[in-house]
């Protein structure tokens, strides 16, 4: 409770929370905000009003305009919110969990186990991510779950390494030495002192990553693996703007909406996670306690 009160006291974190809530509301009310057309097999398929390639300006029926191929941008943004949460949270939560487990085990046991686990991290890190994604898609078909699987399988390593280095660093710090000297058990030290503190860089990384998983997913879609073009995904919307950045006849801003709307959505989403993540860290980090009224 104290945490929440503290959260609300910091103006930046309030902004972040408000933004996140805003997105949550959009995600929750997507079916009402943007009705799927009858021919769609899934609400995540963006409806197409016509098949011209050139994007159409915002106007009646298309408040945000359309992308290349006439996919409605407004619809894509609304349902893309759900996609952003699904991909972002899904991938980061699972990935961070796996990564932290491995990182912690490596840091605590040290020695051979550490070596082997870190070499495993090396193997996964040097694994050509695109290949795995491509082969997986060829075998398992395309879709959002396959995308998430690829992203998780090749995203957990970062958390493992960061957590491990933090743990190594903290293990030798003063207050841990002190705790050891005063006879605290290993378990107590780990749970009470090390993990809560080592966790922060991971939190920082994770909140950053949540916002940007959408971009990673769209890179896959762009290459033909991942979700079908026209799937409600902000990153895909931006990809569809790729050829239109130059504008038309000397006016580079002719198709501004194809870039700005999805870009703003991602920007605000990433910003929200950043602010909340930072605020959480500021509050939960014992070393910073007492300095939140800056």
């Amino acid at each position: 409770m104290r945490t929440i009160r503290q959260l609300l006291r910091n103006p930046l974190s309030v902004v972040g929370i408000v933004l996140l809530l805003f997105f949550v509301v959009i995600a929750a009310f997507s079916p009402l905000l943007a009705r799927p057309e009858p021919y769609q097999l899934s609400p995540y398929q963006i409806p197409r009003d016509g098949f011209w390639q050139a994007p159409r300006d915002p106007g009646p029926g298309h408040p945000f305009g359309t992308t290349q191929g006439q996919f409605d941008i407004y619809y894509g943004i609304v349902w893309g919110t759900r996609t952003a949460f699904r991909i972002g949270l899904g991938v980061v939560l699972v990935g961070a969990f796996v990564g932290m487990t491995i990182g912690a085990v490596a840091a605590f046991y040290g020695g051979m186990i550490d070596e082997l686990l870190m070499r495993l991290v090396d193997v996964f890190m040097s694994f050509p991510f695109l290949i795995a994604a491509m082969v997986l898609t060829t075998i398992l078909g395309k879709g959002i779950y396959q995308v998430m699987l690829s992203l998780i399988a090749f995203g957990w390593m970062r958390y493992a390494r960061v957590l491990r280095s933090e743990i190594l660093h903290i293990k030798e710090s003063d207050y841990v030495q002190a705790a050891r000297a005063s006879g605290a058990s290993n378990r107590r030290i780990v749970l009470r002192h090390i993990l809560p503190n080592a966790f922060y860089p991971v939190l920082v990384q994770a909140t950053m990553a949540t916002g940007s998983m959408v971009l990673a997913a769209s890179a896959l879609s762009f290459l033909g693996v991942g979700t079908e073009p026209g799937y409600a995904d902000w990153g895909q919307l931006i990809s569809l703007a790729r050829n239109w950045i130059m504008g038309k006849g000397g006016n580079p801003f002719a198709y501004w909406y194809t870039l700005v709307y999805p870009g703003m959505a991602i920007f605000l989403f990433v910003l929200a996670w950043n602010l909340v993540g930072d605020a959480l860290r500021d509050i939960l980090d014992p070393r910073l306690r007492g300095s939140t009224h800056a």
Binding site: L120, D122, P128, V135, V162, S165, M208, A219, G235
Partner: protein
């Protein structure tokens, strides 16, 4: 430290074999027909009907059992032959050797603005915590993170090449390219700037620098966000540590506090992350390369991936694994140097 480094490197072959096995296993999950697509990249090549297709599958040994194919590949690698890349149209080793300098050059030139810029921006933001500078830096960098890299790349290209004609795409202009390819010019490293200096050719040097500007700036900008963030938060933490307060109490100037005490420790997580960034850049950055018509390892690898060119994929994976092990080792050593309390291994 040396023994630690050697121990780490001894693990390298294990990493490589494990990696190769994993990739091979993936390869085996595909049907022979799916793998044939590499050698018959469009419908034109499959017009021969079933028998023709069957004979192609036999020709490339796509139906052989896993261990036969893996054994064949390992046998070749041990002899220094990484196989043939259909997508690159040349032996895998040669492709990597030819494209590596381009990627290295780009990475080297980008490294400094990325890392130093991030450290500087992160410090500025941390020391002006919650004030305007802090907010501006954060918004600026998050903006860079939110858009895919091609957006900035294309915008930069439009402005600086399309309108101003200052910085063109590619690595060299045609006239300079002809000079570099001529017999008079010795390509020692195939890194154009360095070679130009070694050949004493100022025009080529300026020309290649000119072509590097846009990709470097774009790479820096899209990467700043994550690094600035780490730097900033770890700087914030450090600034509030007791020993910093002590230093302040001792009367040291804020500047000295920052530089001597806080920064060194704040750099620790940054070191880890810069390792990733450098490794990532050395793996080639496919979108930047596509936009700026810069042929490096990124496009090679992406092309190989898209076409399921497993020889190239394996070769590239090995290269990247070696690179990564070395980078991680350097990072860990640096870490130990920056924080003497950390014991290695």
């Amino acid at each position: 430290m040396l023994s630690y480094a050697i121990r780490r490197l001894l693990f390298l072959p294990i990493v490589l074999i494990l990696l190769a096995l994993m990739i091979f296993a993936l390869q085996m999950m595909l049907t022979p027909m799916q793998r044939l697509a590499l050698y018959a990249p469009s419908p034109d090549y499959l017009k021969g009907g079933e028998t023709f297709i069957r004979s192609l599958i036999d020709l490339y040994g796509l139906d052989d059992p896993f261990f036969v194919q893996f054994g064949r590949w390992i046998g070749n690698v041990v002899r220094g032959n990484l196989g043939w890349s259909e997508t690159a149209r040349m032996p895998v080793g040669q492709a990597i050797a030819l494209l590596f300098p381009a990627t290295l050059e780009l990475a080297l030139f980008s490294f400094i603005p990325v890392i130093l810029g991030a450290i500087w921006l992160g410090t500025k933001a941390a020391t002006h915590h919650n004030r305007l500078t802090d907010h501006s830096v954060r918004v600026f960098t998050i903006l860079g993170w939110s858009f895919p890299d091609f957006v900035f790349g294309l915008l930069a290209l439009m402005v600086f090449y399309g309108s101003l004609r200052w910085f063109p795409p590619g690595r060299l202009s045609p006239a300079m390219d002809a000079i570099v390819r001529s017999d008079a010019f010795h390509r020692y490293t195939r890194m154009n700037v360095l070679d130009a200096i070694l050949n004493g050719n100022g025009r080529v040097m300026l020309d290649s620098l000119r072509h590097l500007v846009l990709p470097v700036i774009t790479l820096a900008y899209v990467n700043w966000a994550s690094m600035v963030r780490i730097m900033r938060s770890s700087m914030l933490e450090t600034l509030r540590q007791d020993y910093v307060t002590t230093a302040r109490a001792k009367g040291l100037t804020e500047r000295k506090v920052e530089n001597r005490h806080a920064r060194r420790n704040a750099l620790l997580p940054v070191t880890t992350v810069s390792g990733f960034v450098v490794a990532w850049m050395m793996g080639g950055v496919v979108i930047i390369e596509s936009i700026f018509d810069y042929h490096g390892l990124g496009r090679f690898a992406a092309n190989a991936a898209a076409n399921l060119d497993f020889s190239a994929i394996l070769g590239f994976a090995l290269y990247f694994a070696v690179l990564l092990v070395i980078v991680n080792l350097v990072v860990d050593l640096l870490y130990a140097y920056l924080d003497p309390r950390v014991k290695l291994g």
